[in-house]
């Protein structure tokens, strides 16, 4: 055991000062290393992904893909909707203003319409008008407004190239700024999707 050395007050004060400074430095360095190790250990939070195929072109079926897509985008998900077959009408600049819903063979209509009545000319226009008025009363945006919302929130709206060929839809018929895609490319996107829906 070392003999106790008497220090002069000045030396003792200098030692205290040096120890305090050095101690502070060591603590800070240690905390920094620990924080970096913690950050490195935490996995990068992955963005969730939603892939939707929209294959129907009636007014009632235009809403589900657009509502799900915009809700996903609002939560920060990475969303793409692939419009194929009749679903392409939803992003067809001319046709998407005239989407209709037929009561014929549609027992799910809130107002039941016997098929014999539903087949009468004008019944589809009437059912469409009714649905539009329900949407308006519920303050639901129109299909065009929903598309705008999707665009603004970064949802990828993709036109099926095959459908365009089969149904003679030209690129200028599609809403401006949208991409044309194919099945393989869309499946590639959907492979990493958390949620994939066929509508």
């Amino acid at each position: 055991m070392a003999a106790k050395v008497e220090l002069s007050p000045e030396v003792a004060a200098r030692i205290d000062e040096a120890v305090a400074a050095r101690f502070g430095e060591l603590i800070e360095a240690q905390m920094k290393t620990q924080a970096e190790a913690k950050a490195a250990a935490r996995p990068e939070k992955r963005r969730r992904r939603l892939a939707i195929v929209a294959s129907k072109g009636t007014l009632d079926m235009a809403y589900p893909p657009l509502i799900l897509a915009s809700a996903g985008a609002a939560m920060g998900w990475d969303v793409a909707v692939f419009f194929t077959f009749y679903g392409l009408d939803i992003i067809n600049a001319r046709r998407n203003k005239h989407l209709q819903v037929p009561p014929l063979g549609n027992p799910a209509m809130p107002v039941p319409v016997p098929n014999l009545i539903g087949a009468i000319p004008g019944m589809t226009a009437m059912a469409t008008k009714m649905m539009k008025s329900w949407m308006k009363q519920a303050n639901m945006p129109t299909v065009e407004e929903m598309i705008q919302i999707c665009r603004q929130s970064g949802v990828q709206l993709l036109a099926c190239s095959t459908t365009m060929g089969v149904m003679k839809v030209r690129p200028q018929d599609i809403l401006p700024g949208l991409d044309i895609s194919g099945a393989a490319a869309f499946l590639d996107f959907a492979a990493d999707a958390d949620v994939s829906l066929f509508i």
Binding site: A71, A74, A138, M140
Partner: protein
């Protein structure tokens, strides 16, 4: 303990997905740490709002229901 919000968003008489979409728009515009209160009549909001919190990382501080009116208090998170 009553929370005093910095902002209030009225989403009454709108249905899913509108409350969630409008909340996202509004919360993007406010500063981190600020509190926004959203008022809704859509029963789906009871499930949509916690899901929004879980998926975005913003904090759902509190919620209350009075006569079919739902109120939610969110605090905007950093990052």
């Amino acid at each position: 303990m009553p929370i005093s919000p910095d902002h209030v968003l009225d989403c009454r008489n709108t249905f899913c997905p509108m409350p969630v979409i409008r909340l996202r728009e509004a919360i993007d515009k406010i500063g981190a740490g600020q509190v926004i209160k959203i008022v809704a009549t859509d029963p789906a909001s009871l499930h949509d709002m916690p899901a929004f919190a879980r998926n975005t990382g913003h904090e759902l501080l509190d919620s209350a229901t009075t006569d079919g009116i739902f109120e939610y208090y969110f605090r905007k998170s950093e990052g």
